[in-house]
Amino acid sequence: MIYQGKQKIWADYQKEIPDNRWFYVRSCIRQNFFPGAERMFLEICRNVLGKDFFETEYHTTCGGIAYHCDTIPQETVMTIIARQFALMTEAGYENYVASCITSFGNYAETLETWREFPEVETRIRELLWKACRREFKTPKYLAHASDLIYKYRNEIAARAKFRLINRFTGEPLRVVEHIGCHYSKMFPSKGVGGAEYPYVLCGMIEAWGGNVIDYPERRHCCGYGFRQYHVKANRGYSVSNTYKKFESMEPYHPDFIITNCPGCPYFMDRWQYVIAETEGKTYGENGYGIPVLTYEEVASLVLGYNPWDIGLQLHQVAVEPLLDKLGIEYDPDAKYKGLNKKDLLRPELPGILKCC
């Protein structure tokens, strides 16, 4: 087959993703923000789809937060990453999947640096050997966890108990997809669909019955950005970015937002509360906000898991209106009960943003 014109350009952004045998590394912050997401990723891949996913308790941070806050140099990050690769090599795996977008960007940056400057890789190998007597092979394939759910999207759709359809109107749900900046803005060829038209989340939404909506600030940052948020004096800049994004998507009335980054769902979720308290404005229907979910949470809902078992009670914006639209039954009294029926305590309700 001869590829021509745009078909050829598009072919450059198709990513080869092996089907099985992955070494999984978690994110530093996701487990605090939305702890159900990573657990559900492993649950779906291992128990629902029967794939081989290995994770080890010995892996550490990738150093991304410190790197992007300019507190550690790139050599340190590369040595940390080399150690992660050593753990993968010792476990006998060749495919490396990261849960975090920042980590994914860091791994891609490191592998690209080593490809361009092999002497740097040699130096890092020496540093790693000196530091902890480990050796490593670079991964054959590097993927972000959303790439894998994208790959398995049709298998998930085949097992789906619910589809992204509004049961009151029979129309597909209107979904905003938000891609983490470090997924493909730095290395377009590493992401599915490149930087301008990333298809990774669109593919999931379409496979599960929803409608992707386009809006002017679609590729705008969520507002997190490390130095914007971590320095308190800059937080106004962070929330202003989020505000700009919500103002831009508001006329299109999205039912929910799906994201593939640790920071994006957190900030787009929590900043809705701050915007409501400072500007008096809410973006959902009837005083509610727009629910912001991770792709694992959406996949779990589609597969019919209990919303409270996948951690949806930890979202600031109430997800109940969305669950009603999807036709998913839930027990409101069980919302703040843990897996072991432990009482998680009820949070204080915000003043303006309506929560259930």
Binding site: K232, G236, V239, T278, G351
Partner: protein, 111 residues
């Protein structure tokens, strides 16, 4: 409203579809040269008032095209009509005359 110690910055977005350019059209009728400006900034860099007061004819023209009339008129009040900008304009625009015309049209409400 709650005080978090930080707040949303006002947006600098300008919706050109909502800008009323009626006065700018009138200005163009009596000063066709206004479209000759290529925003090189020679006028602003030679302006003796610019350094102290923020006066910049380049910015004034840009602001008027973007509907930021109040800012433009406020800036114009610092002009001393010395005419240095007219001497350096590479497009030969009679900037002094342009400034007077702008003032006549845009500051008429203040008379």
């Amino acid at each position: 409203m709650m005080d978090f110690g930080f707040k949303i910055s006002p947006s600098s977005t300008i919706n050109l579809d909502k800008v009323d350019l009626e006065k700018f059209t009138r200005l163009h009728e009596i000063e066709p040269d206004v479209y000759k400006c290529m925003a090189c900034g020679s006028c602003s860099s030679t302006c003796p008032a610019g350094r102290f007061s923020g006066m910049s004819l380049r910015k004034v023209i840009l602001d008027l095209q973007r509907g930021k009339e109040k800012e433009a008129v406020a800036m114009m009040k610092n002009c001393m009509l010395c005419g240095k900008c007219t001497m350096v304009c590479p497009r030969g625009i009679n900037t002094r005359h342009l400034i007077l015309s702008i003032y006549r049209i845009y500051a008429e409400d203040e008379k």
